[in-house]
């Protein structure tokens, strides 16, 4: 029943009526899908209203996302392979941009480094690795650097605007780190940590404006800005999902540590937050995003709705993330804490160098599941009027040409989600299996 329905020669139709005519002409008045709508609107379901000529940007963003995730997700890939992939993606992307003199140079540079990396990959695979290690052969930088850069690159690529805003935001961390480095010997760790946070805060709140202004004056580099309302479809779901998960990770870690802490107030604040968020449906949080968040902010602030949704989704995800990380922490034997203590590492160093790397690794399957859940839940934003794939499906049906189309759209959207989440869940299962064997 489903199969004959879906095999239907309506790919080229421009409206539902045209579909009906085509089907009528082949003698199938009833039954028969109208695929014209997918043909015409598939890119909209993927990108929403993102300007067509700029769609290479989100595409590149998500390719790069994959590259940025590699060092975290697949630790069997060598550094060289990872950098090779990155350059490959960039090289491919450089063809999507129209040729200018600058682009030609970029292409040549990328091409050359591609060739060099490919050569070294082949070479290292052939030569004895142990030999190289003994000789102290230079390793490429840790690909996690790119992951860190990506955190700032992604919003810039998606939303565009001056390059100096993400750079300035990143510099805030640098300022904080420098402050910490300089102050730690003088003021001690905890005090300098607080001061570093303050320094970074000062930078972000006060100095970032003048800095970007200045740099924009000096070197106005930037991409065409794209308003977030133009985000839609899968792009919207992915953006909300990825940004919220990434942002919720640090928050979740803090909450998890808070929940495990023996400081009663800190513990109860964390528990209260986590249980509150987990106790209410996401849709109520989205109502808060759409109806209340601006009321909570100082008069005059106006986050756009997508940013508000991302904020609430982040809070939502962080509660779940906290539980995942807590599970990871619980799985670590106490001996690890004791060994770190005995070596003289303080609390934060022990967390950063010993505990978290292990706990997070154990938590990756849980994080992936949280992401899958969140990604699926992003469809709820259609209820507050955002045009995610489901929201778009009703917008498309509001078009006179397609008024009345149901199954084709739902089917297509379901398929898209299925592909994404199925692959991710398979990956997380694979990880779980590997973690199990790793441990025994």
């Amino acid at each position: 029943m489903l199969l004959p329905w879906s095999i239907s020669p309506t790919w080229g139709a421009k409206s539902l009526n045209e579909c009906r005519e085509i089907l009528g002409a082949t003698g199938r008045e009833h039954g028969g899908a109208c695929w014209g709508v997918i043909n015409e609107r598939w890119s909209q379901i993927l990108y929403g209203f993102y300007p067509e000529e700029l769609r290479w940007r989100p595409t590149l963003t998500f390719f790069l996302l994959f590259v940025a995730m590699i060092p975290i997700l697949f630790n069997m890939i060598s550094r060289r392979m990872n950098w090779l992939l990155l350059v490959l993606v960039l090289f491919g992307a450089s063809f999507a941009v129209e040729n200018s003199a600058l682009m030609v140079v970029v292409k040549i540079v990328l091409g050359l480094s591609l060739a060099y990396l490919a050569y070294t990959v082949v070479k290292t695979d052939r030569d004895d690795r142990a030999e190289q290690i003994k000789e102290g052969a230079k390793r490429l930088p840790n690909p996690l650097y790119f992951t860190a850069i990506y955190v700032f690159l992604m919003p810039w690529l998606l939303w565009g605007g001056s390059i100096w805003s993400p750079v300035a935001a990143a510099l805030g961390f640098l300022v904080g780190w420098l402050a910490f480095r300089l102050l730690a010997p003088i003021a001690g760790n905890l005090a300098s940590l607080i001061l570093a946070v303050i320094a970074a805060g000062v930078w972000w709140l006060l100095l970032i404006g003048p800095f970007t202004g200045l740099m924009n004056g000096l070197a106005p580099i930037g991409l065409i800005p794209v308003e977030s309302r133009l985000f839609g479809g899968m792009l919207l779901s992915l953006t909300i999902g990825v940004v919220a998960i990434a942002a919720s990770l640090p928050l979740g870690i803090v909450l998890a540590l808070g929940r495990k802490s023996d400081l009663l107030i800190v513990k109860w604040l964390s528990v209260g937050f986590i249980e509150f968020i987990r106790g209410v449906p996401l849709i109520t949080l989205l109502f808060v995003a759409s109806m209340l968040l601006n009321i909570f902010m100082p008069p005059g602030t106006d986050f756009d709705i997508i940013l508000r949704v991302i904020i609430m989704a982040t809070l939502f995800a962080s509660a779940y993330m906290a539980e995942v990380v807590r599970g990871g922490l619980a799985a670590l034997p106490t001996g690890q804490y004791e060994a770190a203590d005995a070596l003289g590492l303080d609390y934060w160093k022990a967390q950063r160098l010993v505990i978290m790397p292990q706990a997070l690794k154990i938590s990756i399957p849980g994080i992936v599941s949280t992401f899958i859940g969140l990604f699926k839940d992003t469809t709820l934003v259609s209820i507050i009027g955002l045009l995610d794939p489901i929201g778009l499906s009703s917008t498309i049906r509001a078009d006179l040409a397609w008024n009345g189309i149901v199954w084709e759209l739902y089917g297509f959207i379901a398929l898209l989600f299925f592909i994404f989440t199925f692959l991710m869940s398979r990956y997380s299962m694979y990880l779980e299996r590997r973690l199990r064997t790793d441990h025994s």
Binding site: R20, E40, R41, S43, Q44, G48, F49, E52, E227, R229, L230, G232, S290, M291, L292, N294, I295, D302, D304, I305, I383, I384, G385, L386, L387, G391, S394, T395, R397, A398, D399, L400, N403, G404, V406
Partner: protein
């Protein structure tokens, strides 16, 4: 002030329906069209000089008021009924009426129903978050008959249920009914019942408290209506700019007087607004008029001179 914000931003944030055929819908490249959309474009043209300088924010019945109240949008042009409580209690300012509507019922012909009073026991589809559900409750209570409400979020879903026979009747503003009926496979198999159970003056609205901005929106709408009254169309407007012997036209077009300046705009604000999509009549005809698939008659929305109640305040 909103005007400064809009100018600084360079775009007008305009709330529209997520999708209502003829009133607002987006095509595959994300270009918005429709009767409500045209109001946004006219205001954008008047204020910013570019009818394309609009960010359309799709809103649902639920989210529209918060979007406006929170400043996320500058203007809400989404079939919204002007009522006292919305004006006073929700703190909004309706700048006029761009469509005089009333709530009606759509039923399949084969039911043989000729009056809404015969709908005792019927299942009625209704969009939530609107005045319609209150009207509906009032109507059935007043006539002491029962009904089964089926609340639905969007027009497209309501349509789906109605067509499949999951509701006996669909109630919403008559314009919406006509618009929906127009897209049915067989529009003639459905009738709109004669009872119009409410007055639904639909119009654009802005927040309370920024009267200058409200004035701009109000007078842009008036300019569109007046333009039709005085025969200014997007095609002949350039000739008329050369000067006419009707001082009111000249004042509208800014060739006489300083109305634009009073509004805080330049002299040919109205010219741009009219050029954006034509005068009221042109907009109506192009989006929902009888020649479109929606096929609405002017009815109440004809100019007062033609027997309707459309009446622009004088430009003076």
């Amino acid at each position: 002030a909103t005007l400064d914000d809009v100018k600084a931003r360079g775009t007008l944030n305009c709330g529209v329906s997520t999708g209502l055929p003829g009133f607002s819908s987006a095509d595959e490249s994300g270009h918005w069209e429709g009767f409500d959309v045209a109001v946004c474009r006219a205001v954008a043209a008047a204020v910013l000089g570019d009818p394309e300088a609009v960010e359309f924010v799709p809103t649902t019945g639920k989210t529209r008021f918060t979007a406006l109240a929170s400043g996320e949008i500058d203007l809400l042009a989404r079939n919204t009924t002007w009522t006292l409580s919305r004006d006073v209690d929700l703190k909004f300012e309706f700048v006029g009426v761009n469509y005089y509507d009333g709530q009606g019922f759509l039923v399949p012909k084969e039911l043989g129903v000729t009056s809404a009073k015969e709908l005792d026991g019927a299942t009625v589809c209704i969009q939530t978050g609107t005045t319609t559900e209150l009207n509906l409750a009032d109507f059935f209570r007043a006539n002491n008959i029962s009904y089964e409400p089926v609340p639905i979020e969007t027009n497209t879903e309501a349509r789906q249920q109605y067509i499949a026979g999951a509701c006996d009747a669909y109630t919403t503003d008559a314009s919406g009914l006509a618009a929906s009926r127009a897209t049915f496979e067989d529009p003639t198999a459905h009738v709109i019942l004669p009872e119009i159970i409410s007055k639904e003056p639909l119009g654009p609205l802005v927040r309370h408290g920024d009267n200058a901005w409200g004035d701009i929106a109000r007078w842009t709408l008036n300019a569109l209506i007046a333009a039709e009254e005085y025969g200014i169309t997007s095609t002949n407007i350039d000739e008329m700019l050369a000067g006419t012997d009707n001082p009111e036209i000249n004042r509208i077009l800014g060739t006489e007087g300083n109305l634009g300046e009073m509004l805080g705009l330049d002299a040919d604000w109205a010219v741009r607004a009219i050029k954006a999509g034509g005068n009221y009549g042109e907009i109506f005809a192009k989006n929902i008029g009888e020649d479109t698939t929606i096929g609405l008659a002017r009815g109440l929305n004809a100019q007062w001179k033609d027997g309707g109640i459309l009446y622009s305040m004088p430009f003076r």
